[in-house]
Subunit: 447 residues, 2 copies
C-alpha cells in the first residue's frame, strides 16, 4: 500500500510507484490512450492510461483489469474524487510539470453527479449558489491561502509585540454603532443584538489594563445595500492600544501591520498572484501619505470633482480621485485621510484639543477604497457622555460602556479593518463576494 | 521628555531618569514618605516620594512642586491611571523586583471614582458586572496571555502544515445542530439563525478541494443551562481534513495540536502559571489513551459507578471516573473515548462499516471534562440522507448541505473544541466564566 502523495511533492520524487488522491478536472478519452487531469489542494497532475477497449481471444494476464480501468476512466464524471496508484514518470515533454503517472489502479471514492451546475461563464449569483464548486478553481482557493498568510503575519506581529488576543461577545444588550443597522436576536425571554463591531469591548481591555489587544472576528450590519463592498456579515480585523498621544500612533501601528502582512503575502504567493490575477504585489513604503480630509476634498475639487454631499464626508468617487492623486504624486497605493469632522464621526472619537469640530481620526484608503477607520478614543468620561448625548445616543443604554471610563483608563486608540476589502483591493477583484468564503447579503443566506 | 518604559523592562535599565505609565494598585501614605504601587500590563513597580506636608518659612526652590506632588499622592484613588517621571534606583532591599522609582513628576491622566465597586471577596456575578476591573488582577490577564500563546501555537501548526484558514458565516438559513438550541435573528423580511457550530461550512471546504482547514470563531447555543461549562456564546476551535481513513487520523491531528499548544504555554508561561494558579503544566505524551465508550462504561461500573442514563452516553460523573482511572493507570490527563453509539451521535458521523450501531467518533476528555467531539464524517450522500431522515432532520432544510456531497467529496473528518474549557481545565479553574473575556449566559448580556 503506497500512502498518498500531494501533487506538489511529486516532482521531487524519483520515477516509481506512487498514490495520489484528488478530483477529476478533465478527462481526454482518446481511442488508444486516456488522459485524466487530477487536481488536489496542492496542484494538478496528468494521469495516463493506454486504453484496452476489448478483450482479444488470447488475452494476456491483467487484461481484464486493464479493460475495467479503461471503462472506469471513460465513465469518470468531472469532479469525482478518486485515488490513483501508478508509476510516476518524469518526462519533460509533458506540459503540466514535466511528470505524468501511468495508471495501475483507480478507485472512484466519491462519484460526482455527471451534470455540473455551474460553468466558467455562470453569473456571480449562480456561482455563489454553488460556491463549493466555484472554490475548486485554483484561483479561488489561492484567495484563501493568501488570506491565511496575511492573517498569520498580522497575528505573528501582534504576538511578537506582546498584544493579547481577545474574543469579544457578538451578542450584546445594545447597539455598538447605530440602531439603524442592527440585527435583533430572540434571546430567551428578551432581546439581544448582534455586534456591529467589537468597538466597545476592545476598548474595555484598556481600563482592564491589557495594554494592547487584537481580534479577528465576525461583525454584523443589517445594511440593505447591494454594493460590491458591503456585506451583512464580514470579518473585522481589530486592534486597540493604550497610551497613544494621538491617532498618529495608531496609523504607525497600522502601517507596520500592513507591511508585515504584504511582505509575507508577496514572499509566499507573489508568483501565483501574478499568474492568476495578473497583479504585482507591492509592499507599501512607510510612512504612507497622510492628507487631512478637508485638504483632500480641495485636491479633489481642483481635479474637477466636487463631492456632492451636504456633510463634510468624502464619497466613493472622491476616494478614487484622491487615490489617483496619491498614486500620481507619491506612487503609493495607500493614503490616510485624517482629521475627519466631528459631525461625521462616532461619539467616541476624540476631538482636537484646539478645534472640537475635528477628530483625531482617519480612514485608510487602499487603491481608492476605504478599508479601515481608526481613531484616538475619547477617554474622559464627562466629555464622552456629552458627545454621546450630542449624537442622540441614549446614555442610559450606554451605561455599561460609560462605566469603563469611570475607574481610570489610559488614553487609547485603534482601528477596525475589513478583511475582505483588503483582499479584494490587493487582488484587483471586482467585489468582496469574490474573496469571501460564503457571502452574506440582504438576500443571501444560502448555502 | 522621557518616553514610557514598560515595568518589565525597568530592571535591565541603569539608575537614572525614567517614565512609567499604569494604574495605581495601592497607596501607602505615611507621614514622612509615600509609597505607590503602580501596575501596567507588564508588571508592578514601587514608586516612592519623600513627603513634604507644608511649606516652611524658608522654602527651598522646588518645595511648592514637592508639596503639590505630596498632596496629589495623598488624593490618589485606587485604579487611577497615572504617568510618573522620576529616578530609577536599584535597591535590593525593595521586595518588589529590587527597584524603585523616586517620583519627580506625577500626572493623573484619568482619575478613578474613589469607590471601587468590587473587592477580592465579591461574588462571581458581581465580578462579572465589573469584569473590566476584575481583569486588572495579574492572574486574570494572565489567562488571556496564555490563551493568546495557545491559539498562536495552534495556528502556527496549522499554517506550517498548509491548512487554510476559513471564516464561516455565523448567519444561517437553518440549524446546524439542533433546532432546540437555536437563536433566531430578524433578517430583513425573513429569519436567520445563529450558527451553533461551523460544522456544515467547514465540511463544505472538503468538496471545495481545500484539503485541510481551520477556524477559531464564535458559536452560539440557546442553551438555558447554568453549569460551569456552558455558555450561550463560546469560542470554538475547529479543524477538518480530507482523506482520513477513520477517526484515528483525526485523533492524531488533535494530539499534535494539543502538544504544540501546551508546549508553547509551558515554555512561555509555566512559571507564572505555577505562581498564580499553583498548577504545573504537563505537556501530554502521545498517543493519548483511547478507550471505546462501551468499555469505558464497564470500567466505570467496575469502580462502583453505574451511569444513570437510559441511552448509551456517559454523564459528567462517569467522565470524572474514567479520567480518574486513566490518571491512575496511564498517568495521563487526556483520554479519547471512542466509538460512540450511532443513537447518540449526529447524523453526519460516519458509522462503522461492520456495525452501524457504532460511529467513527470520539470525545476528548481533559482532567475529567469533555473538551471536544471529533469524528470521521459520512461522505456518501445516500447514506447521509438516510441517517438525517432517521434522526428526524428535515432533508428539505438540509438540501444545501446535502448538495455538498453530490459532486464529489473526499472522505474527511475533524473536530470542534471549546477554547474556554481547555483553559479552565488547564488552569484548574472552577468555571469557564473565569477564563472568558465576557461571559454570555441566559441571564447575562452585560457588559
Amino acid at each position: 500500500m503506497t500512502s498518498r502523495v500531494l501533487v506538489k511533492n511529486l516532482a521531487a520524487l524519483p520515477d516509481g510507484p506512487v498514490s495520489v488522491s484528488g478530483w477529476v478536472e478533465t478527462v481526454r478519452d482518446q481511442k488508444k490512450v486516456q488522459f485524466v487531469i487530477l487536481r488536489d489542494e496542492s496542484g494538478a497532475v496528468q494521469l495516463v492510461n493506454p486504453a484496452l477497449r476489448e478483450l482479444g481471444e488470447e488475452s494476456a494476464e491483467g487484461d481484464a483489469a486493464r479493460l475495467e480501468t479503461t471503462e472506469a476512466i471513460s465513465a469518470l464524471a468531472h469532479g469525482s474524487f478518486i485515488t490513483v496508484t501508478g508509476e510516476l514518470k518524469h518526462d519533460e515533454r509533458v506540459k503540466l510539470g514535466g511528470i505524468e503517472i501511468k495508471i495501475a489502479g483507480l478507485d472512484v471514492v466519491a462519484a460526482a453527479n455527471p451534470e455540473t451546475p455551474i460553468a466558467a461563464d455562470s453569473s456571480p449569483d449562480k456561482r455563489m449558489d454553488w460556491r463549493f464548486l466555484d472554490l475548486r478553481q485554483p484561483k479561488q482557493s489561492l484567495v484563501f491561502r493568501i488570506q491565511t498568510t496575511f492573517l498569520h503575519a498580522l497575528r505573528s506581529y501582534w504576538v511578537d509585540n506582546d498584544f493579547i488576543e481577545i474574543q469579544t461577545p457578538k451578542l450584546m444588550a445594545s447597539a455598538s454603532e447605530s440602531r439603524a443597522e442592527l440585527f435583533e436576536v430572540d434571546y430567551f425571554e428578551g432581546k439581544a443584538y448582534l455586534a456591529q463591531s467589537p468597538q466597545f469591548f476592545k476598548q474595555m481591555a484598556q481600563p482592564a489594563g491589557f495594554g494592547k489587544v487584537f481580534e479577528v472576528g465576525p461583525a454584523f450590519r443589517a445594511d440593505p445595500s447591494f454594493t460590491s463592498r458591503h456585506a451583512t456579515e464580514f470579518t473585522s480585523v481589530d486592534t486597540e492600544i493604550s497610551w497613544v498621544d494621538s491617532h498618529e500612533d495608531v496609523m504607525k501601528l497600522h502601517e507596520e501591520l500592513l507591511v508585515a502582512g504584504f511582505t509575507a503575502v508577496k514572499e509566499k504567493h507573489g508568483d501565483e498572484i501574478r499568474e492568476h490575477f495578473g497583479v504585482e504585489v507591492t509592499v507599501p513604503t512607510t510612512p504612507f501619505p497622510r492628507i487631512p480630509l478637508a485638504e483632500a476634498k480641495e485636491i479633489v475639487a481642483s481635479r474637477g470633482y466636487v463631492v456632492p454631499r451636504a456633510d463634510a464626508d468624502m464619497d466613493p468617487e472622491g476616494e478614487r480621485q484622491i487615490a489617483a492623486y496619491v498614486a500620481e504624486e507619491f506612487g503609493h497605493e495607500f493614503v490616510f485621510l485624517t482629521d475627519y469632522a466631528s459631525s461625521i464621526r462616532p461619539f467616541y472619537h476624540k476631538r482636537h484639543d484646539a478645534d472640537a469640530g475635528l477628530t483625531n481620526s482617519y480612514d485608510l484608503l487602499f487603491n481608492g477604497v476605504e478599508i479601515s477607520t481608526g481613531a484616538q478614543r475619547e477617554h474622559r468620561v464627562e466629555v464622552l457622555e456629552e458627545q454621546a448625548r450630542e449624537k442622540g445616543m441614549d446614555p442610559e443604554e450606554l451605561g455599561f460602556y460609560l462605566d469603563f471610563f469611570r475607574y481610570g483608563v489610559p488614553p487609547h486608540g485603534g482601528f477596525g479593518m475589513g478583511l475582505a476589502r483588503v483582499l479584494m483591493l490587493l487582488l484587483h477583484e471586482s467585489s468582496i463576494r469574490e474573496v469571501t468564503y460564503l457571502f452574506r447579503g440582504p438576500t443571501r443566506l444560502l448555502p
